[in-house]
Symmetry: D2
Subunit: 343 residues, 4 copies
């Protein structure tokens, strides 16, 4: 059994990691670390775990890390790198769910997140977008788990980018996310009476996930790309749907592109390409799937890609486990095959 320790275990991502790891046949959760909930049994703070998990939140202690094989850091950026460093120095596999190890270009990172203290660790890290970076992940000790918006956007665009089927500066990503993406907060902006029956854009032309998307898309395209990215807040708990626009460089129709996507992702279990119809948010919520559909607008020569994920699973905890599976040479699907509840 792989022993897993979760640091920052009481946030939404931490709790989702726990819920998913409980279904994993090869993992034992060795410790759940949360200073704000230290010494409280998880069934008190999260009664959904009553009779399911008999663990108590612990204050951080290096000994808890020592006894683990894999460490998941579900902490805010900046804070996270301290614990990543520590776990790395103890020789552990570290999967970091913050933005601290997502970037190769630290100038991009610093602009959005401030100075990085452990720049020498960047070369030891890989970007944990499994379908694209599987080989790098296998050989890294630190995995920077991707952001939720970037996961939906990059995977939705990858076949087009890799084959340069779209014009360089034509990409627009209009994303809509459920509220859990904001994390566990008492913030008034996320109170029920504010969010219910509402909808809004936020961070327009300045959201920090833009640089992460641009770095990875540029890499796939082979040139530096500037991308417009607009996130919106949906009145739902979970899920991201990204509507992606790009101008085609060739005269391709829907069937051509579907074939290209199917070929590109032919070995990827977690990518589902829609030949007919388009994905909807609820088809993926509760799962690790990325559902992708598309249409071509002849008149404007644009492709419109719809890419859906569950922000807490493929966009966070599920992809983290997928990364762990890769790293520990398990079948990548282990513990992650499930149909969503839907209703």
């Amino acid at each position: 059994m792989i022993k897993a320790s979760i640091i920052g275990a009481s946030g939404y991502t931490g709790i989702e990691l726990i819920r998913l790891l409980l279904k994993h046949p090869d993992v034992e959760i060795s410790s759940i670390i949360s200073s704000s909930n230290r010494d409280i049994p998880i069934e008190k703070t999260n009664p959904q775990f009553k009779k399911i998990l008999n663990l108590t939140f612990k204050e951080f202690d290096a000994d808890l890390i020592k006894e683990a094989d894999v460490v998941f850091c579900a902490l805010p950026h900046g804070v996270s790198q301290e614990y990543v460093k520590l776990a790395y120095d103890l020789g552990k596999v570290v999967i970091d769910l913050s933005s601290d190890f997502r970037y190769k270009d630290l100038a991009r990172y610093s602009k959005d997140y401030g100075e990085h203290k452990y720049t020498n660790l960047i070369s030891e890290s890989s970007y944990g977008l499994c379908e694209i970076y599987r080989e790098e992940i296998k050989s890294s000790k630190i995995i920077g788990n991707p952001g939720c918006y970037p996961t939906s956007a990059i995977l939705g665009l990858a076949p087009l980018l890799k084959k340069k089927l779209v014009q360089k500066d034509s990409i627009i990503i209009d994303s809509k996310s459920g509220v859990s993406g904001a994390g566990k907060k008492s913030d008034f902006a996320y109170s029920f009476c504010e969010v219910d029956e509402n909808f809004k854009a936020y961070g327009v032309a300045k959201h920090r996930h833009t640089s992460e998307i641009e770095e990875k898309c540029s890499f796939l395209y082979g040139e530096t790309l500037n991308i417009s990215f607009t996130p919106h807040l949906l009145p739902v708990k979970r899920g991201i749907l990204s509507t992606i626009y790009a101008t085609l460089t060739k005269n391709l129709d829907k069937n051509d592109l579907i074939e290209i996507y199917k070929q590109f992702y032919k070995d990827e279990f977690f990518i589902r390409i829609y030949e007919d119809g388009l994905p909807e948010l609820k088809y993926v919520t509760g799962t690790n799937f990325v559902d992708i559909g598309l249409e071509v607008d002849r008149k404007t020569n644009r492709v419109i890609v719809i890419s859906c994920i569950d922000n807490l699973i493929k966009g966070a905890a599920g992809q983290a486990i997928q990364n762990m599976n890769i790293k520990f040479s398990l079948n990548e699907k282990t513990g992650l095959v499930m149909a969503g509840e839907y209703f």
Copy 2:
């Protein structure tokens, strides 16, 4: 592997049965039967099953039943008994999710549901409320899976009734259910614009689940009970919370009653008693648990019990699987242990 056939597989309960059976290590779904969707692959009607389940809905055919070990009937009452009879005659274990085999007193049944055509089968059937009727279930070939409201109400009341701790005619059950309880329908009353931001009572003083609740509660109490039951429609997809009022016959406080409940359900994995706090709907949605808490109102000498279930799981598909586990001598928890998504 137990081979399972589901008749009426395309409704909400049928789909939930499929989703849950996919997690069951000892079951193989041998056929999914739905005349309205015949010959359509399930991934077309329900894309959440893409890459998860490669089955096609079939028209009913006795041969499909013959190759199964267990038959789940998820059909409307009246229609259901025809298929139950047929499967029974073929020697199969039949778990019927309609109301056709829930009653012992057919006068009660007929008053609410019309004439029963196979009255001789009643003696072959048991009421599938696992925690109360486990022994009868083991020795029956037909199991009448309980209604969703009755499951939440009876299990919430059982310890009080069995020990006659409440006055005979004092019981009031005020229940609130999510919309999936109404089944898969195009009915205008269940359209989004009608239900969203709304709340209403329905079937007041005449809902058909009243007679099912009364029959089973009377049996537990040892006298015929008249009970007030009021269902309400919540603007949520799933879950039932019942607020149950009864006047105590003895001077008991909260701790006394909690102790009695804990003792009564001490061997029941799926019953969770709250010593502190009270259950909320989201603690159980997505699970087979029944969460029960209570308070005593000294001033009025009433106990107020809060009982929560997921109407589609413990109130339908999950309990059906629990019944199958009992019937096939599996560990009762098999395939049914999971924490809810919560957010």
Copy 3:
């Protein structure tokens, strides 16, 4: 024009008062007072008022009260009485939306809310439940605007109580409220991810509105009543639906009772009695109406009353304006006649 000043104008009740007063033809809002938002134009904090209201929140200042004819206090209890006293001493009509002037029996008040500092003002005050206390309201300078739950409960019960048609200790009030009833808060318990798709009871057997309900119902009944009251939190923004149970003392059927209710409320514009069907939450949200329907359960001899209000309107701001209309001898309906948006 009546000049109105609102103290505590930035909370949910304060904002709703402003929104409703803008529709009132005889009122001019002279000041909106909120220390936490002082000197901020309301269109900045609440953009829904852009181009509608050109006012700026002010810090409290007695001069603002002096220039007003009526003062609405939308402050927390305890704090509120200080401002009520001050406005009263300045000779103003004061409508207090806190619990500070709702009680006649200060022992009840103190038990739930702590000591009252201005006990001598109680005799100057009346309980602002317009349909029942209209005459007292006309002759008082301080009006204690009723709580939201009590408004729905007392008006739903009044005809039964006044005529002693129900057994003394048989009354149970099972109420369900939208989230705005909790007020404007950054409390985690009211965050979207907690409330959405959830439902729960709270304050069971100890909610403070119980004593307010009991005092007023006892007064109507002519004897001291003990009542069970259970509030629940609905995942909707606004509205209260109370399901009220009581055992009848006489053999009355639905039609008899409907007739009694219609007679009792025959001059009350804001009370709508349902002869057929039952009210639903959305029929009243956005309005000052109280919608009441009922059924009789022959078997148990109970009446089940459904009483619906908008917690922010008839349960707070609307009733406050209705009280103002009474006090200033305006037609009681002025500014308060509107159909709800419904969808």
Copy 4:
């Protein structure tokens, strides 16, 4: 008093027209016509009108039109033109809420909606987008009330188009609408369990509102434009938020553009330009306002415009009344000034 008759009065738009006209000081509703609800009092089908409106749905009869001054047609396209013709022939002002009189180019109309039977009436009609076509409206007897999506899109783009500040083929409109936009339907796709917690795009690259948007935007721009338009279904009852992307032709920053918008709409009461922040859906729901904000993305030289309306008010019934006000030389704001409920 202007006498108004509403044909198709029982749909969502018809009901909203009734609700709004009740607030209009110069209008009396002379008849509400709905064959499916004929002879049923509106308070039976829509209890929110109890005590508010004492009218009964009527079967269509030309006499009902004769006694009206203005006729609102809230019928499906194709059917609507028959009644428009009839009312026009009777000399009435007709405001048609279908798509039948929105187009000048009947080739566009026919492609999306089929053949038009009264092509000679097109020249008698004007497009009822008040802020842009006020003069034409004044002199037309038939007003084609704009679609909901086109209203949000065209008004969001008009200043940019009129001044040719954006590149011809760069416009992308990503719109998100509440469910009431689909009309009153028993369609399974709009059932609560399908829509709740879900989100999806639909009609991608083929929605019929595209041609309406293109015709009007081309007119404003002075050249034929091809525009990408993607509608999405939000799990809310009402409101449309459009996120509009376009590439700037000049080096303009946010302040420049805000100034241009403010200038362009300086006399328009119902347009609210956001200098700081961006509009959210709830700021406009329940109102006739169009709230517009924008950001400029330097890196990509794109402007991102956020344009919000209430689809049933400014997107349908409210704009219809605004058109009536224009046509009858009333103050355009009459009956339409209100702040939204927000919570």
